[in-house]
Amino acid sequence: MEAYLLNLGVLISLYAILAVTLNFIMGYAGIYSLAHAVFFGTGAYAGASVALNFSASIFVMVPTAMLCAAALSLLLALPALRVRGEYFVAASLGLQVLAVTVFAEWKAVTGGIGGLIGIPPVDIAGFEIYSPGSFFILSLVTLAAVVAITRLLVRSSFGRSLKAIRDSESAALAFGKNIALIKTTSVVISAALAAIAGSLYAAYMSFINVESFMLDTSVLIMAMVIIGGTGTQLGPIVGAALLLILPGALSYLSFLPQTEIGSIQQILYGLGMAVLMIFRPGGIVGRGRAETGEGEA
C-alpha cells in the first residue's frame, strides 16, 4: 500500500509540474496550448538520451532537457504570436500531432513505438534515486521549486504584462507592451519547466515511449488545470491529484468482471471529466480574489 501511495505521489508531483507550467501560459498569458505533452516528451527523450549515453547526473540531464524544450517551444511561440483563440488551439494541436509522428518515427533517438528501454535512475552527487520513497521527495522538491518560480513570475511586472495581453492585446500594445517578446518568453519558460518533469519521468519509469506524450496527455494536463481552476496557484495541483487518483480508485472496483473492467474504468473516467466540467466549470479551487502585485522578481 505504501509503495502504491508513494508511486502515486511521484506521478501526481510530476503531472502537477506539468499542470502548473501549462497554467502559467494558459491562466496568465491566455495561451491555450494543446501541445504541452510535446515539451513533456522532449524533456523526457532528451533527459533519457543524456542519461543513456552520457551521464545520469541530474545536473546534466535536467538542464539539457530544459534547453531542448526551450528551443523547440519557439515553434509554439510562432503561432501564439500570429493567432488567438480557436486558431491557436488548432495550431498547437497540429504541433502535437506532428510531434507524435516524430517521436514515433525518429527511431534513432526515441526508439519509435518500442521506446527507450533501461533508462538509468537519476544520480544526485553520486546517489542514485530510484526507490519510490526517495524519488517522491525529489519530485516534491522539484514541484515546490517550479511553483515558487511561476508564483514569483506571475506576481512580478512580467506577470502583469502577461495578464494585460491576455485581457486585451490591442490595449497592451497601446501601452507599450512588446507582445511578441513577452509571449515568447512565457512560452519558453513554460516549456523549459515542463521539461524538468519530462526528464524526471523518464528516469523514474526507466522506460518511455511515444504513448506518454500524445494528444491524450495534453488534454489530460489541460483538464487538470481546468478542473483545478485556471489562473489559480493551487488549482493545477489539486486537478493533477484528482485526475490521477480517480483511475487509481476505479481499479479497486473489484466486483466488476475482469474483461470489462478496463472499459468501465475508461467510461467512468470520461464521464467523470464531463461531470466535473458540468458541475464545477470554474474549477474546484475557483478563481479567488485576484492577487495584487507584490514583490519583484
Binding site: G112, F207, T259
Partner: protein
Amino acid sequence: ADHQIGALFPLSGPNATYGDIFMSGADLAVDHINADELLSGELSLRYEDSQALPQRAVVGMTKLVNVDQVPYVLSAFTGVSKAISTLAQRNQVVAVNGGGVGPDLAQLGEYFWNVIPLANLEVRGLVPYLVEEEGLKNVVLIYVDDPLGQAIRTELETELPTVGGTLVDALSVPTTAQQFSGIAAKVRAAEPDAVYIASYGAQQLQIVKQLRDNGVDAQLVTYSGYSVSEALALPESEGLIYTTQSVDYDSDDPVTKRFVDDYTAKYGRAPTAYNVNYYNAVRLFGLLAHALEDKGQAVTGANLLAERMATDSFDLVGGTVSFQDDGTLVAPIQINIVTDGAGQPVATVDVAD
C-alpha cells in the same frame, strides 16, 4: 500460503480480443491448479490492462511489482514485453510471454521467458514453403511500425534471399491506421506474388479487407497473430496462408487431454495455440512453486528462476518440453490455409536449430 501472480493483457482497446483469449487459457490453469491443490494455498491471478501498449503496461507492471508484489507476471505482445523487461530484471520478477513473437524477446534477460516460438521460427518455416512449394517469389510486406512489425521485416529481409525470393517492397503503417486504400494502390503497383501482412488486432483485418476491396488479388500471407476466430471468419480471409506453432491436440498425454476436454467444456469451443501458451505459462508457475514449497523455499522470482534452470523438462500441454538457454521454448511450426472460415493445416515444419 496463498499465491498471487500478475498478468498484463489488453482488456480494452482495439486488441482486447486477445486479452479475452489469453485469459481463458490462464484462468483454466488456475482452476486446475486449485482443484488439484497443487500449492499449499489458493492461487489467484491479478489482471492489469495493458491495452497492448508499452507505456500502459509499464504502469501496470509497476503496480504489480510494487503494490501486489507478485513474483511472476504473464506478458503478451512484443512492444509490451520489451518495455516491462527492465522492471522484471531490476525487481527480480519473472515475466512470461505467451503471445508476443518478436525474435528479440529471446534477449530480454534471464527473468524474461517465452513459452511461444518466436517469429524468426515462423518466418523460417514459412519462407521455403512459399517460395519453393507455392512458387511465390516476389513478396511485398505490409507491417505495423512497432517492434513486432520491424522484427518481421528484418526476418523476411534475411530469409527470403536464402531461398531465391525477393522482398519487393516493405510498406509500414502506423499502429493506429485504419485506411489502407492508398497502401493497396502501392501494393498493386509493386505487382507481388504474395503480400505478407505483419500486424495484429483489428488492424490486420482491415488491411486484408481493404486489400481485397481495392483490387489486390495476390496471395495473402501472415503469422500467428491471425489465429483468432474473428480474423479467420472474415470472408476476405479465404485462402490466406498463416503460420502458427504446432500443437498436437489429439495427443494421449494426460495434461493435454485434460486441457483440451476441460477447455472445450468450459468455453464451448476448441482451444488455440494462444490458449495453450497461457495455460502452460500458469501451469509452469504451479509446477515451479510446488517444487519450491516442497523444498521449503520462498516463492520469489529469483527462486523460480533458479528452479527452472535446475529442472530439465516440464510436462506441459502439447508434451514434455525443455527451455533453451535464452529462456525460450521451441515448437514445430505449422502452415495453415484459411478454408471456409477456419484454418486448415497444410504442413508442419520442424525449424529448431
